[in-house]
């Protein structure tokens, strides 16, 4: 896409993905209890151990309280009003084997979202798993990946086809009772993606999952598990959108990454869930637990996120660096506008020797929004020569928004080196005037300033995603200087 086209597509500024797909859903009761959980498990035809996993998580969840330490304010969801499983009616009640069996409306939906699933139109070089409400609809390039020994499928399929792998790793990074929303997810989780890359393998293409919430009543509780064996490598992307509804919807995901010796996982997210209207009506509650485990020596896990959507975001992609010499990275852009609230950051836990972590966080607040960075760098006693470098920059647009940083450092090893830099700047009238004087209109000027501010993070994204992110930032902040 040319620069001018990219700029033109910014005009309009509305949330482009707010449409609803009119599909028929299977009946499923609202609310949460043991019977509901059994029913989810039955409909998914799960083995007994998965049901047990769910029930144990549910027991823990019942004992837990919703946390109130994040710097966000919202009306707590009514857990009895949520539908925890949402499946569209199928012709013969089974997951489609080929695209011909996928509902045309759903295919159209993905086409509209810019992710065509039909073979001729598929994005090249990227395999896509399309998740619609609680189900994975289709996964592309499966055969090609299988040739390389890479497994890429929905977690439900993985439970059926590769139970030994799921059993070994699911819950090993984010335990069932880790926190309130992780426990809820573990009890009712629906689809998400499963990736397994065998030893000495560079995954031949980028893998991506596109999450779509469509059903107004349902929450989305996806679960993703990525395992990279020794000396293997994968780059995974996820994108998310939802229709515009007046009501808030809950999205509580769990993502677990495991990197063994010399393995490398790069996980990129563009989160653009519906963020509610200007008055703060509606929008997604995005309460997510994402954690990576550098289990092997010299392994590397890198999170890159561009968070632009959701009414409320509450998310701390983390890395536990257990293997000696392992590396954790977190690159984040979080944009809030109107009444959005975001409390996001990371946890870098240094366990092994010579472990290294980098945190680059760029928060942009506009309108009446609130944007908080919360990060923990923890150095355990054994982590000789651990190093962390953190940069945490905030940019304010206008006078009515807020930016906050909460950096926590806990170091139990004197050889560790921890560096933290932080800055806050305001997009000034003078900066905008300067660019306008050079011929750019106000929105392009802001978009340029913001893109410059986020550059270190945006350049971490794979190409296709970088273009998308660039556009998104522009749309998101359009008209934010009044």
């Amino acid at each position: 896409m040319s620069e001018t086209e990219a700029l033109e597509s910014m005009v309009g500024g509305e949330y482009k993905y707010g449409f609803t797909t009119d599909v028929e859903y299977e009946d499923f009761p609202k609310g949460i209890n043991e019977d509901i959980i059994r029913e989810i498990s039955r409909r998914k035809d799960e083995p007994e151990w998965v049901l047990e996993f769910r029930l144990e998580a549910f027991e823990k969840w019942k004992q837990m309280e919703e946390p109130d330490w994040p710097n966000v304010e919202y009306e707590k969801p009514n857990f009895d009003e949520i539908q925890y499983y949402s499946s569209t009616k199928k012709k013969d009640g089974k997951k489609p084997e080929s695209l011909d069996e996928v509902d045309d409306q759903i295919l159209e939906t993905y086409e509209k979202l810019g992710i065509p699933l039909e073979e001729q139109k598929q994005l090249q070089g990227v395999a896509v798993d399309a998740v619609f409400d609680s189900e994975s609809i289709f996964t592309t390039f499966k055969e090609k990946l299988a040739e390389a020994g890479v497994i890429f499928c929905s977690i439900s399929e993985a439970i059926q086809d590769h139970p030994e792998l799921v059993k070994e790793y699911m819950g090993s990074v984010v335990p069932k009772g880790d926190n309130f929303y992780a426990a809820l997810n573990s009890a009712v989780f629906s689809d998400g993606s499963f990736v397994y890359v065998p030893e000495d393998t560079v995954c031949p293409m980028d893998l991506s999952t596109y999450f779509r919430i469509n059903n107004m009543q349902s929450g989305q509780f996806e679960r993703t598990l990525i395992i990279c064996e020794d000396n293997s490598h994968v780059s995974y992307l996820e994108g998310c959108t939802a229709p515009m509804y007046q009501e808030n919807q809950l999205h509580a995901a769990v993502v677990e990454l495991v990197a063994l010796e010399d393995a490398e996982i790069k996980y990129s997210t563009i989160q653009n869930w519906y963020s509610g209207d200007e008055e703060g009506q509606g929008g997604i509650f995005n309460f997510v637990t994402k954690r990576g485990h550098c289990r092997g020596d010299n392994s590397k896990i890198s999170w890159t996120q561009v968070e632009t959507g959701s009414a409320i975001t509450w998310k701390y992609p983390s890395v536990i660096m257990q293997g000696d010499g392992s590396i954790g990275e977190f690159f984040s852009v979080a944009v809030t506008n109107n009444r959005q609230q975001a409390d996001t950051g990371t946890k870098m836990i240094h366990v092994g020797k010579d472990t290294k972590s980098t945190i680059i966080s760029k928060g942009i607040s506009a309108g009446e929004s609130d944007n908080s960075y919360r990060g923990l760098v923890k150095i355990s006693p054994r982590a000789e020569n651990a190093q962390n470098y953190s940069v945490c920059d905030s940019m304010l647009i206008g006078q009515t928004c807020g930016a906050h940083t909460f950096p926590y450092i806990e170091s139990a090893n004197p050889t560790a080196k921890v560096e933290h830099e932080a800055s806050t700047s305001r997009v000034g009238e003078d900066q905008i005037f300067y660019l306008q004087q050079r011929g750019m209109d106000e929105d392009d000027a802001i978009s340029l300033i913001v893109n410059g501010f986020c550059k270190e993070v945006l350049q971490e994204l794979p190409m296709e995603f970088a273009v998308e992110a660039d556009k998104l930032l522009g749309i998101k902040l359009e008209g934010s200087v009044g």
Partner: protein, 259 residues
């Protein structure tokens, strides 16, 4: 080309009047110099012409090629071919000079119905302009003005002027902060850009730059008005005698000047 008629301007926020009836006519092919004491309103005049929103025009008009531009936004005025080299150029971290300028160039080209340049064509075009003012090529890859020295920022403004090839340019104290050699180079560059179809207005405190760029007209601004206009000799006289002889007693005491 540009006609400023009885221009009265105040600060939008608190209503303080800064320009108190400025008249100025600038024709194609002319070079003007505006001099005057600190705080007399020279930068304000440049910014108002460029369309800065912090100021309100309360009386008078600004005509560009016969039409009023008061209703136009700053970017629309830039599209007409109006350029301002800032007294204090702004830093834009993370945005390279090249990206900014290519976007600026193409936006203006599009508005004026000229051909846009693709990245490779633009690179060649920009290199030529760099040579004009002897700026090192690495500067176009650097973030706009970020970490530039004072003199480098000023030179970068003229580089931008060269790239955008405007019809009329206001250069606000471009000479301040340039060393002796840089002043010569930059002046030389400006001379090459100036031709019969465009016009240059230089705001300056020193007559030195006027040794290299000969102005057709020199104006002295005092307390928001053009107190005197003349030719190059006026600049020389100011250099020798200062502004005292031009300041009315009443104004002088307000400004705290001797009397």
């Amino acid at each position: 080309m540009l006609e400023i008629k009885d221009l009265h301007v105040c600060v939008e926020e608190d209503g303080t009047e800064i320009l108190k009836g400025v008249n100025l006519t600038i024709n194609e092919g002319e070079v003007h110099a505006i001099m005057g004491p600190n705080g007399s309103g020279k930068s304000t005049l440049s910014k108002v012409v460029a369309g800065h929103e912090a100021y309100e025009v309360t009386q008078g008009d600004i005509l560009f090629e016969g039409e009023s531009i008061l209703e136009l936004e700053a970017d629309e005025r830039a599209h007409l071919g109006l350029f301002l080299a800032f007294q204090y150029p702004v830093e834009v971290p993370g945005v390279t000079n090249k990206n900014l300028l290519r976007q600026a160039y193409n936006t203006i080209a599009q508005e004026q119905g000229r051909e846009e340049l693709d990245p490779l064509q633009f690179e060649d075009y920009a290199k030529e302009k760099l040579d004009l003012i002897k700026m090192k090529p690495e500067f176009i890859e650097r973030s706009v003005n970020a970490g530039f020295s004072g003199g480098e920022k000023k030179r970068n403004e003229i580089f931008q002027m060269a790239v955008l090839d405007p019809k009329i340019s206001f250069l606000d104290e471009t000479d301040s902060g340039l060393d002796i050699d840089a002043l010569k180079t930059v002046a030389n560059g400006i001379n090459q850009i100036a031709d019969d179809d465009n016009a240059v207005v230089m705001v300056t405190h020193y007559q030195r730059i006027l040794d290299y760029i000969t102005p057709d007209h020199v104006h002295v601004m005092i307390d928001g008005e053009i107190a005197k206009s003349g030719d190059k000799d006026l600049a020389i006289k100011l250099e020798e005698q200062g502004y005292d002889w031009l300041i009315e007693p009443a104004t002088a005491s307000v400004n705290g000047e001797q009397q």
